[in-house]
């Protein structure tokens, strides 16, 4: 693990891994969306509106995966003081928030034809909205604490771990409580979703996940470059001051 602690080594790997993830992610996600939107069948009850699933479910997964990434990075930062952990957490936040927002918007657009309402305050929808607000709060806290304590600030890491409690709540909300949202279709025990929907969905999830990884790597590189530039400016200012 500490082999990656050296930012130079991370940058060497990220330099080729980032375009690979992004390119493959965009290609696979577009192919899966094309498959799902144009060729996959209509659903028995929902008809054509089922196609929203190919954007809604990958977004929901990545919204939750983004916070899981923040939580793992936060734990790593607090225990092992890994120099890239805080940067990784910061890199996950904005893409995670964007996918959470896409999940909520597509879900709302899907709810109108499928359920007859844009929004209900059931356990699943409410906990997902809470996740979006947690992201907003986390991003604001990370920016504010970076301004005062620098990049290794502990405050966002603690917030990241506390907020992770919401992730299992989102997942189990439809199992613990009666809810408008249906229980998960894809579980470790199998799939209640016919293969005609499942395969394009799984491939869309793979594609969007690769795209997400590419964005996180790109943001980590950008944050590292910014830190280097700031350090250089500081040295310059010190040299001129003497």
């Amino acid at each position: 693990m500490h082999g990656f602690a050296n930012p130079a080594r991370f940058l060497r790997i990220a330099r080729w891994l980032m375009p690979l993830c992004m390119g493959a992610g965009i290609f696979i996600a577009l192919a899966a969306l094309g498959w799902g939107l144009l060729f996959a069948p209509a659903e028995r009850l929902q008809g054509e509106t089922v196609r929203i699933v190919y954007l809604h479910v990958p977004s929901a997964w990545l919204g939750m995966a983004g916070w899981s990434g923040i939580a793992i990075a936060s734990f790593t930062q607090l225990v092992w003081r890994h120099p890239l952990a805080g940067i990784a957490a910061r890199a996950c936040a904005v893409p995670g928030a964007v996918f959470t927002a896409i999940c909520l918007v597509t879900g709302s657009l899907w709810g109108r034809p499928a359920w007859g309402t844009w929004w209900v305050w059931d356990g699943r929808l409410t906990s997902m909205l809470v996740l979006l607000f947690l992201y907003f709060g986390w991003i604001a806290l990370a920016q504010a604490s970076e301004a005062s304590d620098g990049a290794d600030s502990k405050a966002p890491a603690i917030f990241g771990l506390v907020g992770a409690i919401n992730i299992p709540i989102i997942h189990y909300s439809v199992i613990w409580w009666n809810s408008q949202h249906q229980p998960p279709s894809i579980t470790t025990g199998g799939s209640a979703m016919s293969g005609a929907f499942l395969w394009p969905l799984l491939i869309a999830m793979l594609g969007f996940t690769l795209l997400f990884a590419g964005v996180v790597l790109a943001r980590m590189r950008a944050i590292l470059a910014q830190q280097q530039a700031e350090a250089r400016l500081r040295r310059k200012a010190l040299a001129q001051g003497n």
Partner: protein
């Protein structure tokens, strides 16, 4: 014997996480009955809510139970789980996914005669996704979905 600083941090953070997860489990346990979006027929029958109180009733629409009332714009149907049945009346336009054998959430109140009077109906989709071409395969899956609907 000196403990390494990072092991100490690991233990401290581990304890903090256990405490946090314990607090969350207690909170969720307390919310167990309050955070449900609707009552199922079994709960409505066991503890009928006062007719002045707005509640939601959720369950499966019993097969063959939907019929139009004599006024021509109201419908009556039966919402069931695998233990109880509640008759429901509704006046208005139903969502397109409102069909017999599928899930429904009715918003309204319990009438004095034991009939639930719905002001609004929401269709509830189950977790099964079946292509149109495979419609005849759904009987067994529907039963599974109903078993889970408790």
């Amino acid at each position: 014997m000196a403990i390494k600083a990072k092991h100490q941090r690991l233990v401290l953070l581990g304890i903090a996480m256990v405490v946090l997860i314990g607090a969350a489990i207690l909170a969720i346990w307390a919310l167990r009955n309050q955070a449900s979006y609707f009552y199922v027929p079994r709960e409505i029958i066991a503890n009928p809510p006062e007719s002045s109180r707005g509640v939601r009733l959720g369950g499966m629409v019993e097969k063959g139970s939907i019929h139009t009332l004599p006024d021509g714009v109201s419908i009556a149907f039966v919402v069931e789980d695998n233990q109880a049945k509640v008759p429901v009346t509704f006046r208005g336009i139903v969502p397109s996914l409102f069909v017999e054998g599928s899930g429904v959430v009715a918003e309204g109140h319990m009438g004095s005669d034991g009939t639930f009077v719905a002001d609004n109906l929401l269709a509830k989709h189950d977790e099964n996704y079946v292509p149109r071409e495979m419609q005849n395969m759904t009987g067994k899956q529907m039963q599974q979905a109903m078993a889970k609907g408790k």
